[in-house]
Amino acid sequence: MTVSRAQAHALEAIVAAMVLLASVTFALQVTAVTPLTASTSSQHIENQQAAVADGVLTAAAETGALKRTVLFTHPENGSFYDIDARGYYVDGGPPTAFGEMLDESFLDRGIAFNVYLHYLRDREVRRTTRLVYMGEPSDHAVSRTRLVTLADDDALTEPGTSPGGDPRAVETTKTLESVAAETDETYFIQDGSAGPLYAVVDVEVVVWRM
């Protein structure tokens, strides 16, 4: 009987030790990176958002909407149309086809986005202009970019409407070359080469769940 009880004690001690070890392991393991650890955003959603951003940029580049939005500036001061003193759009995309695509793909689904325009000054200094800025992106933001080529003969655009009445960027007669030649007219990117190439602009879209 005494022997039997000792055995039970031993077993109890071993099991208690295991429980102790197991709880330490569990405490460590419970902090493992699950899809929902850091936020309600998940890898799947990030992949999806990146793919949508890519799709929007590709579609906008294909129809020329992307370039028309990059050229959507006042010839007098080089700032975008319909913005306040901050110099960029804050509550959605610009009133152009590209802006509408961004709004419908992201904003309407509770996804915030920033759009940056990266370009070169003096052919080597990288500059960035904000087109849309909704705030500091979260740690779960994803970013996609697309290169846009501006030629000397590309014309600035101004606010207009589509046949359906939606806001669009409509070409004016002012080409980048003519704007650069006028002393009282300007564009926020300078002509980077002597040839017909005006500049290369990298349009970056950063999206994240609000």
């Binding site: 039997s4 046949p163 190439l197």
Partner: protein, 333 residues
């Protein structure tokens, strides 16, 4: 397992001789069992956690990421297309055009590479001169106040026969247009099996583009235009003033192979236009229809590159992509 049951039974049997220990022993047993179940649950939690984590890892994309390379290819094609026509507009001999394009694309590649380097990608784009460019002709009218007739002011005339056509663009004065569809300016593109006829006319407030496809069905799109306005029509891109005009897609869907391009009622439209054909200027140029380049008169037929070959490299992480592209923006048929 410890032999505890027998001890309990024995204790009950010898109740008179020994103190009863059954209650104590059972309590210990239950404690052990409870602890064992606790360990089991902890183990289960670990297994579950591992499974979730594995799923998380497994769904991360590990295959070669070609998105960047594909996107860069698209940007190269679009950029080279824009630059090709810019170079063509500046004019010159075929040799000068090729050199000019080579240099311009080099500038483009430098700028693009600097911007892409920030994203951790090494890129390069260059003109492939061992693949001969397709030498063609640019037919254009730079004089915005002239109608679309040929040099001798013939209103119904053929611009080029049996050719490949690309980059057909018009910038038409709204005021010059006819108000009736039937007698309006027509662009006719004919591949000898089917013909696509595009008419441009107006009413008091809008400009209409009516496209009669290969099957004879006419569809229309329109854009608002006031007096004094100019309207742009990009036939290959299917755009009227920059917005989509779906009927124009008929030039892609209904035509095949070489085509003949002609104008009808060309006196019913004024403005500028350009288009590229894939026959050399020596073949296309006809002194009864065209003026030579630099004459200051319209319309002009001059040397232009119809298509060029461009190569690009995109290198990022484990990805290395090299491709050669044929660049001929806005090809019809």
């Amino acid at each position: 397992m410890a032999d505890v049951t027998d001890a309990v039974e024995r204790a009950s049997d010898a109740a008179d001789d020994l103190p009863r220990l059954g209650g104590d022993d059972r309590g210990q047993l239950m404690l052990v069992a409870a602890l064992a179940i606790a360990v089991l649950l902890v183990g289960l939690a670990l297994t579950l956690n591992t499974a979730i984590y594995t799923e998380n890892l497994a769904t991360r994309t590990t295959d070669t990421d070609l998105d960047g390379a594909v996107n860069h290819g698209g940007a190269v094609e679009a950029g080279a297309g824009t630059l090709l026509d810019e170079v063509n507009r500046e004019g010159g001999t075929y040799g000068e055009l090729a050199d000019g394009f080579d240099e311009t694309l080099g500038n483009w590649s430098d700028g693009a590479a600097t911007l892409a380097a920030v994203r951790g990608a090494a890129t390069d784009a260059s003109y492939v001169d061992h693949a001969d460019p397709v030498e063609g002709t640019r037919i254009s009218q730079p004089d915005a106040a002239r109608n679309f007739t040929d040099r001798n002011e013939t209103a119904d005339w053929t611009l080029a026969s049996d050719v490949g056509v690309r980059g057909v663009r018009f910038n038409v004065s709204r005021d010059s247009l006819s108000t009736s569809n039937a007698s309006s300016f027509h662009l006719v593109v004919d591949d000898e099996t089917n013909a696509v006829e595009t008419a441009v006319y107006r009413d008091s407030s809008r400009v209409f583009v009516a496209v009669e496809d290969g099957g004879g069905v006419e569809t229309t799109c329109s854009v608002a235009a006031d007096a004094g306005d100019y309207v742009t029509i990009d036939v290959a891109d299917g755009r009227l003033n920059g917005t989509a005009c779906d009927p124009l897609d008929a030039v892609h869907t209904d035509l095949d192979g070489s085509v003949t391009v002609s104008y009808r009622n060309a006196a019913e439209a004024e403005g500028t236009y350009e288009l590229y054909v894939n026959e050399t200027n020596a073949t296309v140029f006809d002194a009864t229809k065209y003026e030579p380049a630099g004459s200051g008169s319209s319309p002009v037929a001059q040397e232009a590159l119809y298509a060029v070959t461009v190569s690009y490299v995109y290198e990022s992480g484990e990805t290395y992509v090299y491709r050669e592209l044929r660049v001929a923006p806005g090809e019809v048929a």
